[in-house]
Assembly symmetry: C2
Homo-oligomer: 179 residues x 2
């Protein structure tokens, strides 16, 4: 178990990876250097479930996570350019619910591209899903690889935000000269 | 003013036309043959407003309309195939909120393609926006053309559902032989 991070420096980040069938989420507590995983999981759309009720399921689950862990920030994958129009539209439905949750709870939202996430977590923009899972396990000191990969992706998004935020903080504290 | 429709036969339909900048809505009361417009309007995204808060605006406004008019059914445009992936994704966000509202209030949702809507309202699948506005005015006995066209589109979606539903009812009552 990772050493507990003192409360006065911590930021709690909710990472969410929306999908048309599975939406992953993960909550990470960080002081910038050390990260601790508070919870992770995924919200599946049942085969028999219609889209409106699967969206309500995402909304209710995320609201429970927000109420329990009270994150300071939500991090989510930015607009997904590679998809075709139809899959982008279905993905947009789930993403809309996440954005609504952020606005309802007045939590700032940050977006990162898949490339940024992989670079921040694995160090390589074209990393495989398995590498991302392995790095999420290592960086968060988990005993096992986070499954399914949607949950690992969500944790990776949260860790990506932690890294980017820490980098920004160091710039603002003058530790890294900004050119 | 149109003659009031007796309450025991009426269906109240909320039509919604989601858009990336403007979402139109319209509430229509119908007995199958006669339609009455209860309200219509649009929800605009302010230029300075971020996407999460504009989605919350859609969610709050639709919830108010649902609470005030208690529609029996929500009708919405079906997946829009012509858009590119990015505009489809943004459109999907707004559409996700409408579907969430339907699930939250446990109201059945029906979807119609732009072609079906135009055919049902104007009688021609490639009708112009102005024709749709004109027909919405005529069919609903409005004193003026519903503006903006997003609200007229929403009313047209509601009227389209009224027509399709009435057709289904006649089939089930055996007035139109179903081949």
């Amino acid at each position: 178990m990772q050493q507990e991070i003192p409360l006065n420096f911590v930021v709690i980040i909710l990472g969410v990876d929306p999908g048309s069938r599975v939406t992953g989420y993960g909550v990470v507590r960080t002081d910038g250097g050390r990260h601790e995983c508070l919870t992770y999981g995924c919200i599946r759309r049942a085969r028999v479930q219609d889209l409106p009720h699967s969206l309500r399921n995402i909304y209710d689950t995320l609201n429970s996570v927000l109420a329990e862990y009270r994150p300071d920030v939500i991090a989510v994958e930015s607009l997904f350019h590679a998809a075709n129009a139809k899959s982008a539209l279905v993905l947009g439905h789930a993403r809309g619910i996440i954005l609504l949750c952020a606005a309802t709870h007045d939590i700032p939202l940050h977006e990162y591209s898949p490339l940024e996430i992989k670079k921040a977590v694995v160090g390589y923009g074209r990393a495989e899903k398995a590498q991302l899972q392995q790095m999420a396990k290592l960086l968060l000191g988990l005993k096992q690889i986070p499954e399914p990969h949607d949950a690992a992706d969500a944790l990776a998004i949260a860790v990506c935000h932690a890294h980017c935020q820490e980098f920004q903080n160091r710039i603002s504290r003058g530790k890294i000269p900004y050119r």
